[in-house]
């Protein structure tokens, strides 16, 4: 019998680079550059959704998360990308 475990899956939802990221722009212009951290050239703000997923293994958990992402549009593929990361 396969043992079912729980896995912590992070969905990193990031805006596509070709789109303006006004929150990132504000952090860059009005916080970092204004305070002389001029070695930073770009800032982009993303969102993390954390799921605890029951699955047979980490790969299975990531696949299940990917299905949710696609079927319920947890991210909008027109304007963002989603990276799935996981740990046991």
């Amino acid at each position: 019998m396969t043992k079912v475990s729980e896995f912590k899956i992070d969905l990193l939802i990031s805006p596509k680079p070709e789109l303006r990221n006004p929150e990132g722009d504000t952090i860059l212009q009005d916080l970092l550059l204004r305070n002389n951290f001029d070695y930073v050239t770009s800032v982009s703000v993303s969102k993390v959704i954390q799921l605890i997923v029951k699955a047979d293994n980490l790969g299975d958990a990531k696949n299940k998360a990917a299905i949710i992402c696609d079927e319920l549009r947890l991210y909008n593929p027109l304007v963002s990308s989603c990276t799935i990361r996981g740990t046991e």
Binding site: L19, R20, P22, E23, T26, I49, L72, R73, L74, N76, L78, V79
Partner: protein
Amino acid sequence: MNVAIIQFPGTNCDMDTYRVFNDYLEIDVTLFWHENTDNLEKYDAIILPGGFSYGDRLRAGIIAAYSPVIKQLKKISLKGKPIIGICNGFQILVESGLLPGALLTNSNLKFICKWVNLKVEHNNLFTNSLQSGSVIHMPIAHNEGRYYVSDDKLQELERNNQIILRYSDSDGNTSMDNNPNGSISNIAAVSNANGNVLGMMPHPERASDPLLSPYSTNNGIEIFRSMILSLEVMLKE
């Protein structure tokens, strides 16, 4: 004729819209709770009013877009019945795929609440009572109103006359200076390719009584009146 106004948890412009249809236009109108399992097809037109459905959790409009009532709405849209999404209703329509594009956080990262000038780009069933090229006034009130589509899709919208309203100055000039939220090509309202689904960030229900307008205008009611006049023709056919 009977118009349904869909209510979700967090909808807050339902009663304003109801008042315009019931009191000003004297049209039968029904408030339709999203869990209502009645057949939505018995209504002649559907309005998704503004507000903050599900508290804008995850992304404005996305959770409402997966509700059973939207599944019904998708079927109804294919039959050519008029559907208007206002503000959060517009967000629900793009998230459900009934309209193209996406609505992103305003470029200034602020909730914007103010009256704007809008240029009527095209006449369709929602703007037949307005003059194409004219400038009308309505308020906007949103945090996620920056309309975005890819360049290819933008050209397609232009070709198909799907861009219905643009943010403009009082003379109808459109530029970034009079673009309140950073929308691509100053777009404030778009329709689907068939022209029977309209999404708009401005609030016509709040611009339907001259007493409520700083311009003493009621341009918003013309959106609803246009739809009713078009519906009367459609129902006779």
